[in-house]
């Protein structure tokens, strides 16, 4: 399949890229990893007249802790997250997540920021970032603005990013002691989108009571869902099996799946309950270590 013709632009700095995006407005699309954009162009779901390839902008690929945040650069690839010893040791939820995204070749190109900026509720990082309480840095002509992740996903394929803005950094608060997370996904085969998936990040206090918990749901609604009722229920309680089961039931209630070729809505609700149970108990046992 041959994508429609377009003009190819390759800026080497952020201001140059922003200027091009502003100049061409709705006719321009950012090409980052391209692993969603190019398939959409082949299918004519996207037909940008101008493609702004940001891959040659230097200094946008990094994973570092700084000022109380884990900072992931706008061009950081999934494969880089997967290979990072910092992620492996301190952010198991991110390791779980990147492992189940697409396949090795796609992870070599696909970016973490693109996984969010695409605004697809079937993508995996959105739920994980909701669980982690991340922030997104959008850079435009007026400089940077910081968007809390809960305000980022507006509707299907629509995010809070404005035309002419680039997602340049993801910031995740460095978790305190006795924190951990997990991401469980059911996919029909490697590379498939989730039938459903649940992300959990949890902090326990010294009495093993849940101090903070974030729960995100993948592909069971028009946007990624933050399971607030389940979070509220579990906060201040021990993550023992009865409480985990009740929280998982509440998370399933908050899911809004639709029936499709991956299964009927009722099945997906049941699946959310099971995956939430696994993620909650997985996060709790990791956090207790």
């Amino acid at each position: 399949m041959i994508p429609p013709a377009f003009e190819y632009l390759r800026p080497t700095t952020i201001p140059e890229a922003i200027a091009l995006l502003q100049q061409h407005g709705e006719d321009a699309k950012i090409l980052s990893g391209g692993q969603s954009l190019i398939p959409m162009m082949k299918l004519r779901i996207a037909r940008p007249a101008y493609v702004v390839d940001i891959n040659r902008i230097s200094g946008l690929s990094y994973i570092k802790e700084e000022g109380g945040f884990l900072k992931v650069g706008g061009l950081t690839r999934e494969a880089e997250l997967e290979a990072s010893s910092l992620i492996r040791s301190k952010y198991p939820i991110l390791m779980d997540t990147t492992h189940v995204i697409a396949d090795p070749q796609i992870r070599n190109l696909a970016t973490v920021a693109g996984n969010l900026a695409h605004g697809d509720p079937a993508n995996d990082h959105p739920a994980t970032m909701l669980a982690l309480g991340a922030q997104v840095v959008a850079t435009g002509s007026g400089g940077e603005r910081v968007i809390p992740i809960e305000e980022f996903f507006v509707s299907l394929f629509t995010t809070a990013l404005q035309q002419g803005e680039i997602l340049t950094e993801i910031r995740i608060p460095v978790p305190p002691a006795h924190s951990s997370g997990a991401y469980f996904k059911l996919e029909r085969k490697v590379g498939d989108f989730a039938t459903a998936a649940v992300a959990v990040q949890m902090t326990l206090d010294e009495k093993s009571v849940v101090q903070r918990v974030g729960i995100g749901l993948t592909n069971v609604g028009p946007t990624p869902i933050k399971a607030k009722k389940a979070e509220d229920f579990l906060r201040g309680k021990k993550p023992d099996p009865p409480n985990v089961e009740q929280a998982a039931r509440l998370a399933a209630d908050e899911a809004q799946p639709s029936s499709d070729l991956r299964g009927p809505a009722e099945y997906k609700k049941g699946l959310v309950k099971e995956l939430a149970t696994r993620s909650l108990s997985g996060a709790a046992s990791r956090a207790a270590k």
């Binding site: 692993q35 090795p104 070599n108």
Partner: protein
């Protein structure tokens, strides 16, 4: 038609260049412009991995990348595995262990396995299955592909691989 752009790449150690339309996919550039037809187009939807090549040392699905993006880069295709008329240990492994039947997925399987062994010369069976998880084979059931990669890994351990 959009303005053509110059693409310069080093393919299998050789400098190549051509003026192409920006929409030209890397796989079409490799097969039709450079006339290296070893890399296959299977699904054309980034699922099957038959078009896998190495770009700057990393495997990519060349059906899901524009040729212009590869400008200035180094590409290794299946044609680049053979050295001085000698099959690469992986190619030998696929032959010895019957790692192919129809052979359509083989170029992609070889490139993914090549990248795997370069990062992890002694992979476990699980590592191998993980390493080729972006490549589909509809004939072998994967068992003999895993054995072929193990063959190459063993040969490298004996000092046979270059």
């Amino acid at each position: 038609m959009a303005k053509k752009q110059l693409v310069r790449v080093k393919v299998n150690g050789r400098e190549r260049q051509a003026e192409v339309e920006p929409r030209l996919l890397l796989i079409h550039f490799i097969r039709e412009v450079l006339e290296l037809t070893g890399s296959h187009i299977g699904c054309d939807t980034s699922h099957c991995g038959a078009c896998t090549v190495l770009l700057n040392g990393k495997t990519v699905k060349s059906c899901t990348m524009f040729a212009v993006q590869a400008d200035g880069g180094e590409i290794l295709t299946v044609e680049g595995l053979i050295k001085d008329g000698q099959l690469h240990p992986l190619q030998e492994g696929f032959k010895e262990e019957h790692g192919l039947q129809c052979g359509f997925c083989t170029p992609g399987m070889l490139m993914s396995s090549y990248a795997l062994l370069r990062n992890n010369p002694k992979p476990s069976e699980e590592d191998i299955r993980w390493g080729i998880s972006g490549n589909l084979c509809r004939c072998t059931g994967y068992q003999n592909i895993v054995k072929a990669v193990q063959f190459a890994s063993g040969k490298a351990a004996q000092g046979g691989a270059k």
